[in-house]
């Protein structure tokens, strides 16, 4: 009988997640149970088609590369350096992204500057003075000295990963131009805490724009734009410009 259990067993077999005993059971049933074998064969055919499609795609990629080499070597014997392909791919991608995604010629950096405003520091004074090691960080943040605030928030986070501090620290780092630190804090916030998923995603989208990673920015903004949350309006507006 074609049961959910059998399908799950077969899927885990192909994903190498079965114990020795379970694997032995699969092998045994393949010899004696025709219906189970049909479930197994269908899974094998599907995985085969996935792998064949991947190989076919990579083969086409190599043919494209070969055409590029042949074209560039006609009339010249200059050897093309390996890095050329990565650079060429990046240039093509960037050109496509710029033309397709930014018909109004606003660059990701310009969009970031238009839309980025550091999150308001509305955290309770008790949190600032009693439980945290660097309460003056909030003061620097309020004054707009984001580089100093980012440094102090960093020290606080070494002691404890507090979601309020993570959000402020991400914003301070984003304002100070430390996008990799900001990205790390925002991803931690989304992954490990539930309190600030929405603002974290908004600022993550902006962070990716600042980094020039348009695809990632679009993915995050699309997700925000699909829900009715505080940042939805802004996300949809920005997404229209990014698209």
């Amino acid at each position: 009988m074609n049961t959910e259990y059998d399908i799950d067993l077969v899927e885990r077999y192909f994903d190498n997640e079965l114990s020795e005993g379970e694997s032995a059971l699969v092998v045994k049933r393949l010899k004696t149970d025709a219906e189970f074998k049909a479930v197994f064969d269908r899974e094998r055919a599907l995985i085969r088609s996935i792998r064949a499609a991947g190989l076919s795609r990579d083969l086409q990629l190599l043919k494209e590369i070969e055409r590029g080499i042949s074209a560039s070597s006609q009339g010249t014997v200059r050897r093309i350096q390996p890095w050329y392909y990565a650079a060429a791919a990046a240039v093509v991608l960037f050109a496509v992204a710029t033309v397709w995604l930014f018909p109004n010629r606003q660059t990701p950096d310009e969009l970031f500057n238009d839309y980025f405003t550091p999150v308001s520091n509305t955290f309770a004074p008790t949190l600032r003075s009693e439980t945290l090691s660097q309460p003056e960080a909030f003061m620097y943040y309020d004054r707009g000295d984001y580089a100093t605030a980012a440094s102090l928030f960093g020290e606080m986070l070494v002691q404890e990963a507090n979601p309020d501090v993570l959000l402020l620290s991400a914003n301070a780092n984003l304002a100070a131009g430390n996008t990799s630190v900001a990205e790390e804090h925002l991803l931690t916030l989304i992954r490990d805490f539930d309190e600030y998923d929405t603002p974290a995603k908004w600022y993550l989208g902006l962070c990716y724009l600042k980094q020039g990673n348009v695809d990632k920015a679009r993915t995050v903004l699309e997700e925000l734009g699909q829900r009715e949350v505080f940042y939805t309006g802004q996300a949809r507006e920005l997404l229209r410009k990014v698209k």
């Binding site: 399908i7 899927e11 064969d41 269908r42 899974e43 094998r44 055919a45 599907l46 995985i47 085969r48 088609s49 996935i50 792998r51 064949a52 499609a53 991947g54 190989l55 076919s56 990579d58 083969l59 990629l61 190599l62 043919k63 590369i65 070969e66 080499i69 050897r79 093309i80 390996p82 890095w83 050329y84 392909y85 990565a86 791919a89 989304i190 992954r191 990632k216 993915t219 995050v220």
Partner: protein, 192 residues
């Protein structure tokens, strides 16, 4: 680059890595195979492309974990096997069917046969699967990416979410495959 570094780069990298390896050994390989076996320029390129993909696939699937020789020697070895295999099967010149060679040597198990109708249905089902499912299952089953790598590339919340999504995508793919199987069997019956 150190050999083990290259293997690591292939496992974690994308198309740019494939392009770099391709270009790095291309001229020497083409020169060698034309001189050694008298292959035409087009056949030499076809064989080289197969050799590169076989090397890549062996790294990804874990069949090749440590290189005992250089990449060049490994690629030349695959090239030699492809030429001999082709010569054994035919005494006259026939252009190499690259996709067929890749499927027979990298995907199918020796002596393993599956009904053509099932394979065709699986292929059609995959074409109908849509994104992001197609990308996800391809990253998992073809590129052999870990769930953590898939999380980073496709922006899932965590590995568990990505795993659940992969299971849902496979469920959808099975359903599409069943639909294709039914559709094909109805078509076949109508032909008689």
């Amino acid at each position: 680059m150190v050999r083990e570094d290259i293997i690591g780069k292939i496992r974690s990298g994308g198309p740019a890595g494939l392009a770099m390896i391709y270009e790095e050994h291309r001229d020497e390989f083409l020169h060698w195979i034309r001189k050694e076996y008298g292959c035409s320029e087009d056949d030499s390129k076809d064989i080289y492309q197969i050799a590169i993909l076989a090397f890549y696939d062996n790294v990804r699937t874990g069949k090749l974990q440590h290189l005992v020789s250089s990449i060049k020697t490994y690629l030349f070895g695959i090239g030699k096997n492809i030429v001999r295999d082709t010569m054994r099967k035919s005494t006259r010149h026939i252009a190499i069917d690259q996709e067929r060679w890749l499927n027979e040597n990298l995907i199918d198990e020796p002596g393993d046969t599956m009904p053509e109708q099932l394979l065709a249905s699986a292929k059609s089902a995959l074409e109908r699967l849509g994104e992001p499912c197609r990308k996800l299952v391809e990253m998992f089953y073809y590129e052999r990416k870990s769930m953590e790598e898939i999380v980073a590339a496709l922006n899932y919340k965590n590995a568990e979410v990505a795993k659940n999504q992969k299971c849902k995508c496979m469920k959808r793919l099975r359903r599409l495959c069943e639909e294709e199987m039914k559709r094909t069997s109805i078509t076949i019956n109508h032909e008689y």
